[in-house]
């Protein structure tokens, strides 16, 4: 519990860490209707595509230095040899990032959905999907960031980006299922299953990678 509070204080004090991605997301979603001809039918179709891509890119941006500062000032080594297990600390860090960046973006995204498609059904149904999806994205991108930790380059993140493309296929089908009222709970269950596997595995993998970096 103390670990979570500690991470929360660290991220809150670094205001550009959590406010920046949220503002970028709002900027993308506001710029989208401006660049498209204002006709209500077309906005419906392309809105969700822009939404998923915007969330993907914003999550990639926000996890760019999730481990970098800690690695540079040595506190990552302290975490590695402390009593609390390293996967737990990493899971807490990712959870805090999701809480401060992922949840506001999901809420703002569903509000934009309400505004641009004028359908409360879509907006309410897309909110849990957005929450789960942003958590999965943050997990996978922090795995990518951990791979190229000492270089500080974006190579690790770019290499893990292709892993998320099948997820985008599933998300597209989820939106169709909301529109046609087909199998919505099935898709939510599928996403929850993917999320549960990833939450358990990714902190273990990242702790192995960080220990390899610190040697």
């Amino acid at each position: 519990m103390n670990v979570i509070k500690f991470e929360l204080l660290k991220l809150r004090s670094k205001s550009r860490g959590w406010l920046g991605p949220i503002l970028v997301f709002i900027l993308i979603m506001v710029a989208f209707p401006l660049t498209v001809e204002i006709s209500n039918k077309d906005l419906d179709q392309s809105f969700f595509a822009v939404l998923w891509i915007a969330i993907l890119l914003v999550m990639m941006l926000s996890t760019e230095d999730i481990f970098l500062e800690d690695f540079n000032d040595g506190s990552l080594e302290q975490f590695a040899i402390s009593n609390i297990s390293l996967p737990y600390i990493i899971a807490a860090k990712i959870f805090i990032y999701w809480l401060l960046i992922g949840v506001p973006i999901s809420i703002i995204g569903s509000l934009f959905c309400l505004g641009l498609t004028n359908s409360a059904n879509l907006a309410i149904n897309i909110l849990p999907i957005l929450l789960i999806t942003s958590y999965i994205f943050i997990n996978v991108f922090s795995f990518g960031n951990a791979l190229s930790l000492n270089k500080g380059s974006a190579l690790g993140t770019l290499v893990t980006l292709p892993l998320l493309l099948p997820l985008m296929i599933v998300l597209g089908k989820t939106v169709i299922s909301i529109n046609l009222n087909l199998n919505y709970l099935g898709f939510v269950a599928l996403l929850l299953g993917i999320l549960s596997t990833i939450i358990l595995l990714i902190p273990l993998i990242i702790s192995y990678i960080i220990r390899a970096h610190l040697e």
Partner: protein
């Protein structure tokens, strides 16, 4: 005694000497098999009722895509062996299979898209199997660039193995995508349990070309692993005797 037999394969020196002896046999047998199957498929099989003569691309496209997925599974197994038992030869093999896998996937994508022009009218479609194969191609390239970006070889090996294992989630998606979603790509014609959906006359050259192509790809992997071992073990004493 079995342990000793298996342990001797873990040394790059034994591997390279034994592989040198077997290389010519594998190369010539698989080359003959592949050329005979391609010739048989291109000239001696009757034309298809639906697709006309353009179905003959199957003898080039199916071996390439099947082998590219099998190469990734081989990389995943070798990565697991490296992470558990720390056998250096395994990770040399992983690094040497990666470019060959990229080339095979490239062949599969190109032949598939050129086949799509007469069959479907379009050379690209965003359906699940094609996109997943494209993702496999990008993953192969990402593996090569990740390994080459590290100057410390031990770290590079570990991260390469982890990334191969994490990315192996793509292979079930490719194999099952034609069953899970109804897509443009046709379902598998050859399964383990049912009768094949393709005529027997066309099936034999297909098997021959798959086995022949697998042999040729094995020769390429042997060459690539030789290059990798020479690079990584250049400071060892047995290299002087070998070259």
């Amino acid at each position: 005694m079995i342990k000793k037999f298996i342990h001797q394969f873990a040394s790059p020196k034994t591997y390279i000497y034994q592989v040198d002896r077997a290389y010519s046999y594998i190369f010539y047998i698989s080359l003959v098999l592949y050329l005979v199957s391609i010739f048989w498929g291109l000239f001696l099989t009757p034309e298809d009722f639906v697709q006309g003569n353009s179905y003959r691309i199957i003898y080039l496209h199916v071996p390439a895509s099947f082998i590219s997925q099998s190469l990734y599974i081989a990389m995943a197994i070798a990565s697991a062996i490296f992470l558990i038992w720390k056998v250096k030869l395994s990770v040399y093999l992983v690094r040497s299979i990666a470019p060959i896998g990229a080339i095979t996937t490239f062949i599969a994508l190109i032949s598939g898209s050129i086949w799509g022009i007469p069959t479907w009218g379009t050379w690209w479609a965003w359906d699940a199997r094609i996109v997943s194969t494209l993702i496999l191609f990008i993953m192969y390239l990402g593996l090569i660039s990740l390994h080459d970006s590290f100057s410390n070889h031990e770290k590079a090996d570990k991260f390469l193995s982890i990334l191969v294992l994490v990315g192996s989630v793509n292979i079930p998606i490719i194999k099952m995508s034609v069953e899970w979603w109804s897509t443009l790509h046709q379902p598998a014609s050859i399964t383990i349990s049912d009768k094949p959906a393709i005529d027997l006359v066309m099936l034999y050259p297909l098997f021959g070309s798959i086995v022949g192509f697998a042999g040729l790809v094995t020769c390429l992997v042997i060459l690539s692993s030789k290059l990798q071992i020479l690079r990584r073990e250049r400071n060892k004493s047995w290299i002087k005797n070998y070259v």
